[in-house]
Symmetry: C2
Subunit: 269 residues, 2 copies
């Protein structure tokens, strides 16, 4: 009876695996994995968890997050200890929102199930750490995918974040089905930010094929990124520090003098 523990109370742990390398997996997340009878997630994330006796693996394809969530809740209702795994943090453009959506729309008895969320190092934190401190001031995280929201909303959020001078982390920047959004985002950014504004392209952070590029906004192109890339557009204050080896740190100073030439909505209190 795969996944059942004989009628005892089941539960769901929604677990963040962090960036690829196991050195980023928290002990809390590891403990939750160790207690699981069933492992649910997108293929590459399930593949990261070592096989062991007593653990049934249920890997599925991308874009079936709700089916996967209902499956997890059904197994837990039957007594299983289910681990739902995401890369990075499960609460940031990953499985946690999908699971609670399934819970919200599912049968009442699911609401009594014990559910825990184990946070993880999300991509923007891992990318920022490798590059310096580009998120040192206020920042936003925006998914560029318009699968679940209209592009008009994405564009409005980008405009708002640009006009108020946030650093901006872009998740899901590009895919074969959505090749144009990232260049559209860069075009919007060029209307608000100086040409030399640093843009960080962090690919596969924490994996063996990790790569990091810092490109001026005037030169950055969507084709420099893929679905494994975290794109981070600096604020107006984001700066480079050149190193003797020719590479550079990128950071956003904590101090900000304000947005000169713009109205101070509250009278400059």
């Amino acid at each position: 009876m795969s996944g059942s523990n004989g009628g005892q109370t089941g539960r769901v742990s929604i677990i963040g695996l962090g960036p690829g390398d196991a050195c980023y997996l928290t002990p809390a997340a590891q403990a939750a994995l160790d207690e699981a009878t069933d492992l649910i997630g997108y293929f590459p994330y399930v593949a990261r968890v070592p096989e062991r006796n007593g653990l049934t693996r249920h890997a599925s394809d991308n874009r079936v997050e709700l089916d996967r969530s209902r499956h997890a809740l059904e197994l837990a209702a039957g007594g299983a200890h289910v681990a739902v795994v995401s890369g990075g943090d499960p609460g940031v453009f990953a499985m946690a929102a999908a699971l609670f959506e399934a819970l919200d729309n599912g049968p009442d008895h699911w609401r009594a199930l014990p559910i825990t969320v184990e946070p993880g190092i999300t991509a923007m934190l891992a990318a920022a750490a490798k590059a310096g401190a580009p998120l040192g001031g206020d920042f936003c995280a925006i998914s560029l995918s318009d699968n679940l929201k209209p592009w008009a909303l994405v564009a409005r959020r980008l405009e708002a974040a640009l006009s108020a001078d946030f650093a901006i982390a872009l998740y899901n920047p590009i895919s074969k089905a959505r090749p144009h959004q990232l260049d559209d985002a860069f075009t919007l950014a060029r209307a608000h930010r100086a040409p030399q504004t640093p843009v960080l392209l962090a690919r596969a952070v924490g994996r063996t094929d990790e790569s990091l590029r810092i490109v001026p906004l005037s030169e950055v192109r969507g084709a420099m990124a893929d679905m494994s890339t975290l794109v981070l557009i600096g604020a107006s204050t984001t700066r480079l520090i050149e190193k003797p080896d020719g590479t550079a740190w990128v950071y956003t100073p904590r101090f900000h003098a304000g947005l000169e030439g713009r109205p101070a909505e509250d009278g400059g209190k």
Copy 2:
């Protein structure tokens, strides 16, 4: 010769300790701590790292981030393996930006020092995980402190984030020296969001005195928070799921229909 390792190349690791409990400390951060000869940070964070032979502790008070950073770089230039510790993630309103600021403005030879940043679970991710998935859509992180930026800029960023319907995580929400900013932020939020919008007040997440409250925007007050509280204002779509025990999950669905009644800047592409 405190902290020196006899003239060999020193280095700096800027380390995120995560929320209070050691179960959130990544193995990468633990390894960096294990290799340190000198430990630098704000008192309560230094206190979290166990004492051991070969580790010299340099704890300092709040608000001396630049002095502390210069001290770390000087020790490293002298051969020490310096661990600079922050709670949460060092890149989010913590020591990483201060250290790179000190590097940017320091002597040229510091730029050759090996520096690594070890990411950690930042407060908003830990708080969100305890409460459900309130950061399930696009979101912003804003520090309410006006020690390093004018309040007019904070207010402008809040307005931008509210008008574009981001979920908003507020760091440094309140202190004895800044008692009014959080109520001012709630007042701004009430002009944009419905009265029942969930506001999460997550205090001391991951510590023994952890507490979590979800309060409707119409009823939330600054006095419900202190410096150890992460405040999270939901988006217009953020919802509660009632549990049989009377508590509730809070989550932001992945789907967003768009901002009706507002202009679609790009023609609704």
